[in-house]
Structures are given as C-alpha cells and as structure tokens.
Amino acid sequence: MNAAQLVLAGWGLLICGAAACAVISARRHLVGPLAFLFALGSSVLVAPAALSVLLRDRAAETGALLSLPGVQAALTFRVDQLSALFLLIAALIAPLATLYSIPYMLRLRNQGLLRYYPLFLLFFAGLIGVVCTADWLFFLIFWEFMTICSYFLVIFNKEDRKAARAGLKYVVMTHGATALMLIAVIVTWKTAQPHSFSFAAAKAAMAQLAAARPALLHLLLALWFLGFATKAGVLPLGDWLPDAYPAAPSGASAVFGGMMSKFGIYGILRIFLDMLPASGFSTVWGIVIAVAGASSIFLGTLSALAQDDSKRLMSFHVIGQIGYMLLAIGTGIYLLPVNGLLATLAIMAGLFHLVNNVCYKTLLFFTAGSLEYRAGETNLNLLSGMWTVMPVTGAAALIGSLSIAGVPPFNGFASKWMIYHVTLLGVPGMPLFLLLGILALFVSLVTLASFLKFLGGAFLGPTALNEEQARAGDTPFAMQFPQMFLAALCILFGLAPMTALAGIHRAVGAVLPLAAVPSLSSLVGDSWAGLQLNAFGQQATGVWYPAVVLGALAVGMLIAYWVFRLGAAPRRAVDMWQCGALVDGALARYLVVEPKHEPATAQFESRFQAHGLYSCFKVAFRSVYPSVPLPHTGYPTRFMKIFDVDAWLFGPIVRLGNRVTGALSRTHSGVPQMYLIWQLAGLVVVVVLLALWAG
C-alpha cells in the first residue's frame, strides 16, 4: 500500500465516520467520542503517509479511482510533497478539533448534533480531497464540498439570525469565487490539447497561453487569484470572514480560522508556482499578491484592534496573518525569474508562517471557545479575571498570543523574522517590497497590542464570574489537551525551526518552477538549533539561535538584578495595572458603553474595560474594515412589465375576442322575426353577388 492509498483509506474512514455519526447522532454522549475516534483513526493513516512522502521526497499516487471520459477528468489521489505538508496539518488539527468539540458541543443542548459531527468529518474529507486531487475539476468539486460543509457549520445555531446572515454572506461570496475558478478551469480545459482537466495538462496549457495569448492568461490568473483570495480572506474579498467564523461553534471556528483559510494559500501556490512557469507573469502577479497581502496585514490587524468580541478579534487576525503569508509568497513569486535562491527562501518563509499560524491560531480560537464555554461570553468587556479560574487555558492563551505577536522565542517570531528578512533585504531595485516589509514589521506591534487586550481583558483583573461558575474550574481535559499540544508545538517550532523548515523545504521544492532547487543548508544553514539565512548565497545575512539568545537574555537579567542589588535602589509601591481601571478624567470621553448591556454590567465595564486602552483606536479605525451590509434588492419594475405578456398581449387579445364574440352573439336574439330578416338580408347579398359574378 503506498502513501496515497493510505491517505485514501483515511479519507474513506472520515466518510464512514460521518455516516456512523449521522446514524447515532441522537445519542449525544456517544456521537462526539465516536467522531473523535474516526478522526483520530483517519489521522493515524494520513499522517504517516504524508510523512513518508516528505521523508522520501517523492510523490505517491493511486490509480484512477473514478474516470469521467465524457469530460476527460479523472479522480486520482496524488500526494506530492506540498500536499503532504497540508495533509499533515489537516491530520494534526482534525482529531484535536474533534476532541475539543466533545465537551463544547454537549453544552449546546437545544441543537441536534446531526448537523455537527457528520458535517465536521465530511469537511475534513473535503479538505483532504482538495489537497490530494491532481485534477482541477475534482479539485473544485472537493473545494465546493468543503465550502458547503463549512457553511452548514456556520449556520449551526439555526435560530440565530446573525449567524444566518453571516452564513449567507459567506456561502454567496465563496460560491461566486468558485464560479470564477470554474470558468478559469473550463477555459484551461479548452486550451489543453487534448482537452483534459489534469494538473499536467493545465500546466502545459498555461505555458502555451503564456506564449500565445498573454492577455487571456492574465485573465485566468486573475480569476484564480480572486477565487483563492476570497477563501483566504484577503481584503476586500474576505469581508465575509469576520462575520462567518465567529458564528460557528468554537471547534469549527478554530478549524476555519486555523486551517481552512490556509487552503486558499495552497491553491495560490498550486497555480502560481506549480502551474505557472517562472516568467514575466510571475513578476506581475508576485507584486499583486504581495500588495494584497500587505493590505490585509494592515487593514485586518488594525481592525482587530477595535474588536471587543474575542472570536471576532481572532477572525480579523486570520485576515492579518494570511497577509503575512501572502506578502512572503508574493515576494517569492516576484523573485522567481531573477533570484531563485531568495525566492525559495521567501516562499519557505511564507509556508513556515502558515504552519506556525495553524498552531497558534487554532490554539487561540480554542482558548476563546473555552472562555465562552466557561463564562458563556465572548465579549471581552464582560470577561475578566479568568486566569484564577482557568490557569491552563490562560497559559495556553499566553503562549498563543506571544506567538502570534512574534515575540521570541516562539514560532511566530521565527517565521516573521524570515519574512522581514527577505522583504527588507531581498529586493534590490524594487523598493515597494521594502516598504511592504516595514509595514509588516510595524503592524506586528499592533498585533501584540490587540492580544494584550485579549489577554488582559479576559484573564487579568478581578473575576466577573459568579461563584457557581468559578467553582467549576478550568475546562475539561478534552478541551485543554488540544491547547496544550498546540502550545507545545508553538514552542518547538520556535526553539527548533528546522523541524518544520526541513519538511517545508521539500514541499516548496516539489512545486518550484526552477531548474535546480537550492539545498536546505544553503538557504537556512544546517543547524537544528537555529537558522542561518543566506539570502545572497555567499555568507549569512541573518542568524537566529533561540537558545543562545535566551541564554544571553537570562545572563543579562541576572546582571541587571545584580546591579539592582548592588545599587540598593529604593522600592516604590504603586497600584498594579490590571488591564482596566475606573475610567475618569480625560479618558472618560473614550468610554464606549454599548446600550445593550444591563446597567450593572455597564458599571463593571467602566471599571474593567478591555478596550480601555483601545477606545481611541476603536473610534479612529471604525471604518477601516467596514462590514458591508447585504444590499436590498429593488425590482426593475419597468423591465418586468416587458415580460408581463399577460398584461400587454394576451389580456388585450382575450378582451378583444370577448368583445367581438359578444357583438356577434347579439345577432342571436332568439326572436324569430329577427332571424327572418337576417335570412332576407342574406338572400339579398347572395343575389347581388351572383349578379356581379354573372354580369
């Protein structure tokens, strides 16, 4: 059994699991563990298979599972190194998220679980299908399948009008995006000779279009980009994202925010690296992707600053973080024709950030869900002091927050550092990238600020829970374990970035349109303890050894303490800032008390406001990322009248007919004399006619 067949088996197990969960969905306590077992079983099959593909550095393939000769499409499971990377991610998150969902979903007593676990497992099956197929038609089929499953998870709370609207916006926008991609796929199919949907044919077709019809190719690339960017949440196409992700149950939100958006990146890599030859097209679209990424970083993160809802805040960061990946990948694509080495490094940086992001973003969504689980609340203004109740969740949230903010030695720092490195150093003659890199660097600070708000608002300060809630303690182990696991990964990838980069290098190498892929050691050095970036190939342009830096930091702190003791500095006693205090004086004008809260909570809010520090941003950035309401449809009444054939054609004809026949029927009066007169008149007419004819 080769790796692809193993993945197929894992995929089949998910489908079976969905069916099994559907059957026993009424047994609320059983269905969750059952789903978890199936997810775990599937991961046990998928993860080793994906690992073996990465280790052997060779793609694996099943035979054709389903062949559609009518349209020259065939479903094969083909696992190349890039697929393997994403498969590993899916295999990691699927069981964790399912495990997390078990206690979480039990709390939602008034919703049937038939609409959760089966769809959840099918969603993962869709994800696996997306990365494993080597045929664009089946890619879109899995893609849309995944979208529809996630849509049903978004509208899971079916009584919630807001969730329904969010789901509508989500499914409409992403379906439109899929339609764009379908057009691109069909045009590519048409171009390929012989017609085929396979990746190989599409690759050849793109090369042919690049030479013969560049304008058409640009159009196709634009369609692809729009399609994937919508899914990834790039602005302004990602307008649906901050509404849709928080609406789903937290287990699903975590998967959407932590993982699903990244599959848009997978699509972009497939198209712009695997399909598109390194050429002038790469230059143009590299810039487009990088600029789109940078704008996402800026707008997404800045908007996050103004959010009070923890899950919504996370969702905006999904947009911002996707921006970092796109910035790096766009830079890499731009560099492909000129500097293969740096291009590889840039794309690796982007993918590394993606892997890291999966870890900490899923973790953070989990923590937000845990807060909701315990306190029944996602509004950061109403949460407070949860640390005393939920220390484990709090620690996980801390690690996740520091990671996403790019604080060393966590994983977010390592990848962000690589991204800054390539954007700041790398592109001579194109100052745009320098600008974008600096922008990313500064926005990272905003990320830190907004996660301080999350941490401070939710975990610090006095507790807002009642006694009963407080006694319940931290969340069940099934919810804690996924967080601890992901937190450990955040630390691992931070301290030993090579563990991830070795795999990522092979994943990138498999799709890079370069004659020779630079070796891993020539790019990031060969030490497991750190990174040694070689942006120009000769000497190290940047070095990062977390252990060394941490050690130096520790030594420095010891020295500082020693100096402090030596100087015998006097101690001052001040109030500790608890991320919230009584707001008065000059700051009071920024106080935003939403009228929906009870007066008691409003008072609480004014004392310990999560956004105490951020009110000014909230006011200033309110419209940075406006949430566009769905337009109200007006009826083109005049236009409709044209088609109202009854009114202007059939109706008049029928009325005319009625009038004519009515007039004729008057001749039938029923009076015998009248009929005699008619006969006489008829006789006269006949005689006259005869006379005329004869004469």
Binding site: L68, P69, G70, V71, G112, L114, L137, L140, I141, E144, F145, I148, F152, I155, K158, E159, R161, A164, R165, G167, L168, V171, V172, H175, G176, A179, L180, L182, I183, I186, V187, W189, K190, T633, Y635, P636, F639, M640, F643, D644, V645, D646, L649, F650
Partner: protein, 485 residues
C-alpha cells in the same frame, strides 16, 4: 414487437381506468401501477441498452389500405434510444415518487387544503398522464408525439383545476388555452410534413423547402415554447401553481413541461442539416427566458411560484443546450439533455418540499414561514439538498449538466460571453435560493408554525428525492454520452 414496451404503454392507462371506477383502494392501485410502470421502463431500457446509440425502434401502425404514400407512412411505434430512455426513466421514476407522495398529501390532514374527495378522478388523471408521458417519451415520430402531447395537455388542465376552486379553474383553463394554441401550431406543422415531405419522421422537416422549413420549424418551436413555458408563452406556468403540489412537482417541473424541450432535442438530434439561424432563434429565446425568470425570482412570495420561475429558467438552460447542439457542440447538447433529467429530479424534490411545508404549516408564503427547520428537519434537509442540486453545487445533479453546457458554450463563437452570463445566473440563483432557504428554515419558529406531522409516504418520497438528486447524473451521464447530435 417487444412485449415489455407494449405492456409499458398499456399498463398506466389500464391502471387509470380502474382507479377511476374503484370505490376504494385507488391509492394503493395507483402506487402499484406506478411501481410496475417504473419497473417495466427500467427493464425496457436495460434490454435496449446494448443496442445504443441506435436502440430499439418498433413500428406498429401502417395504414396499408390507404392509397398512395399514405399507406407506407409509419404512424405509430416505439423508439427506445438513449434520449427516450432518459425521458422515460425521468417520467416513470419521478412519477412513482409523486404518486407515492400524493397518497400522503391528498388527505384530510393537509393543513393547506383538506382533500376529502376526488381520489378517483385524481389518480385517474395522474396515471393517464403517466401513460401519456411514457407515450411521448417512446414516440418514434412527430405524429405519435403529437397525440400523446395533446393528451398531456388535457391531463394538465384537469389536474390543475383538481380542487375546483375558481382560481384553480381559471389557471387550468389558461394553461389549456396557451399550450393548446401551441399544439395547434404543431398540428399545422404536421400537415406541412404530411403533404410536402410525406413523412412524420423527426428528420422529415429537412426535406421541406426553404420557407416551408422555416415555417414548420417555427410552428414546432412555438409548440415547444408553449409547452415548456418559454417567453412569451411562460405566463401559464406560475398560475398553474394552483394545482395540488404533487402535480406541480410532476407535470410542471419534472415531466410535462419537459415535453417541449424533448421535442426540440429530438429535432436537433434528428439527422438533418438544421440551419444555424434556427439555432440563433433557440439561443435568443433561451437567453431571454433565463433573464426573465431570474428577474422574477426576487418578487415572489409564493414559494411555488418562485420554483415555477426557476423551472422556466432551467427549461431555458435545456433549450440553450439544444441551441449549442445546433451550432455543432456535442457537449453542449448532451449537457442540455442531461439537464432535462437532472433538473427534473432536483426541482421535483424542491416542489415536494414546498408541498410538505404547505401540508404542515398551511401556507406556502415565504414571508409567513420561518424557523421551519426546527419543526420539519427532514423537509429542511431535502430543501437544502434540492437547492444545492438545482443550482449546480458539485457533486449533485445539475452541476454535471451545467458543466457540460458550460464546456459546450466555450465551443461556439462568443462562448466566453455566454459562459459569463450563465455563471452569473448560476450564482444569482444560488444566492437567492439559499436566502429563501434561510427565510423559511432558520430563525425562531413563527407562532403559527405549529405543524402537523408528515405522513410516512411523504417522508419516504422526500428521502427518495434526495437520493435521486445524487444519483441522477450517475445514470444520466452514460446515457447522454451515447446521444450524438
């Protein structure tokens, strides 16, 4: 002469007659008859399959005693080729589901309209219609098709006015008049064919001279447009929604309205050189119809009327596929024919859902229905599956037919624009139907949404409908691939 096909043609009419006079048990007999017909149709297709794409062509009627060429013209017969198999399976399978559904729907427990009497006449007409549709599907020539065609018109009239309310009678009469005027054109075209081409074959129109050919084609096209509710003859279909909902599902979504596009598909497929001007007329008509229907979606509050407009649009799709066939696009034509099947099952399912909602909640006004997902989860699931299937979400039914049509559209000149228009239509329709689904099924249940539970027959029908939405392309794609324009 194949006994299976002969039995197939006779059984529904026999069943209809017996149902018409039985004092009780009409329901059970109707279900049995429909089941037998479905089984027979399956057997007939299965036996003919090895001979595809030619299939089985039988001739039963020849008036040898007539003088001259009249004696040698084939009048009646049965043709089982891929195209007729597709139609045959559609009308029999959906027919069975609808008959089964009707046994639950036409009961005194129906909250929208308590059906207390009229079972005999209902099942008589329903089975009579089933037989007529089988006749249309099996027609080897235009004459026989015309006979059965007009029979379906009469059934439609009787079934729309089934409840005998004033509105229903008006609607039935309107449908009768409009489709019958179309039928008159059909008859005149037949006369042309008889006199000038001496044949009723589908390809006979090719033997006519220039002007006459155009006239005959336009007359036949007019008949098809009237039957399939295409602009400008579309107005009867939304009004026909006064019919009991199973009738709307069957006659006005899955079967009868398909007769028109079936005729066009037959004409396009027949071996004669169709001038591309005819294709242009077909294409223009289809596009205008789709446009008209889409614009009308947004102001419908009656769920069934909304579905009716959607049906009109999708029949436009089939016409469009046929037009692509005229332009020489094999894929486009196959897609059109496949759409006939896929849309039939998907829209049939949606109508059954609309009926179930009306049965339970007593109304089919979208603005009155709310939060029905909690009251009727099965209907909610079936409706969503139906919506996804009818708007072309992979891997459900119409995705495949639309894919074929899209691919076919790219094969003709200016196809890119056509593709873009169709994609926009698809997305708009999808959005609107999802929106309507939200309005009906999500949110807090309305006060009056206290519902009566569905009879088992209706629930089973809904489940079969959902399955058909998945399975239709599995059967349909191999069939249409054997259809060569």
């Amino acid at each position: 002469m194949d006994p299976v096909v002969m039995t197939l043609l006779v059984v529904p009419f026999a069943g209809a007659l017996i149902c018409g006079v039985l004092s009780r048990g009409a329901k059970a007999l109707a279900v049995l008859t429909a089941l037998v017909v479905t089984a027979l149709a399956t057997v007939a297709v299965w036996r003919a399959w090895p001979l595809f794409p030619d299939g089985v062509n039988m001739s039963f009627g020849r008036l040898a005693w007539m003088p001259g060429y009249l004696g040698s013209i084939q009048l009646f017969g049965a043709l089982v080729d891929p195209l007729s198999s597709l139609m045959l399976l559609l009308v029999t399978v959906v027919g069975f589901v609808v008959v089964l559904y009707s046994t639950g729907y036409l009961t005194p427990g129906n909250a929208e309209h308590a059906y207390r009497e009229g079972d005999n006449r209902y099942y008589f007409w329903l089975l009579f219609f089933l037989g007529s549709m089988v006749g249309v599907a099996l027609s080897p020539n235009l004459l026989q098709m015309f006979f059965f065609w007009e029979m379906t018109t009469i059934c439609s009239w009787a079934l729309i006015s089934h409840t005998h309310t004033g509105v229903a009678q008006r609607a039935g009469f309107k449908a009768l008049v409009i489709t019958h005027i179309g039928g008159l054109g059909f008859l005149i075209a037949l006369a042309f064919l008889l006199v000038f081409a001496q044949s009723f074959d589908f390809a006979a129109i090719g033997k006519l001279g220039g002007g006459l050919k155009t006239a005959a084609f336009l007359l036949l096209l007019g008949a098809a447009w009237a039957k399939s509710a295409q602009v400008p003859f579309h107005t009867w279909l939304p009004d026909a929604m006064e019919a009991p909902t199973p009738i709307s599902a069957y006659l006005h979504a899955a079967a009868m309205v398909k007769a028109g596009v079936f005729l066009v598909a037959r004409l396009v497929q027949a071996s004669w050189e169709m001038p591309s001007l005819f294709g242009a007329v077909l294409l223009a008509g289809a596009l205008i119809t789709i446009l008209m229907a889409v614009v009308n979606y947004f102001r419908q509050d009656d769920l069934k009327r909304l579905l009716a407009y959607s049906t009109i649009a999708h029949l436009g799709y089939v016409m469009l596929g046929c037009a692509l066939g005229v332009y020489g696009s094999e894929k486009g034509f196959q897609g059109g024919v496949l759409h006939l099947l896929c849309h039939g099952v998907a829209k049939g399912t949606l109508f059954l859902c609309a009926g179930a909602l009306a049965y339970g909640a007593g109304t089919r006004r979208i603005s009155k229905l709310q939060g029905m997902g909690r009251r009727m989860p099965l209907v909610g699931a079936a409706f969503m599956v139906g919506v996804l299937a009818v708007t072309g979400i992979p891997p459900l039914a119409t995705f495949w037919s639309k894919l074929y049509i899209f691919i076919g559209a790219l094969g003709v000149r200016g196809g890119g624009v056509l593709l873009a228009v169709l994609a926009v239509e698809s997305v708009v329709a999808f959005s609107w139907f999802i929106y309507v689904g939200h309005r009906i099924f999500l949110g807090e249940p309305a006060e009056e949404a206290e519902t009566t539970p569905l009879p088992a027959a209706m629930s089973v029908s809904l489940v079969i409908g959902m399955l058909l939405c998945v399975l239709a392309p599995v059967l349909g794609v191999p069939l249409v691939r054997m259809i060569l324009p």
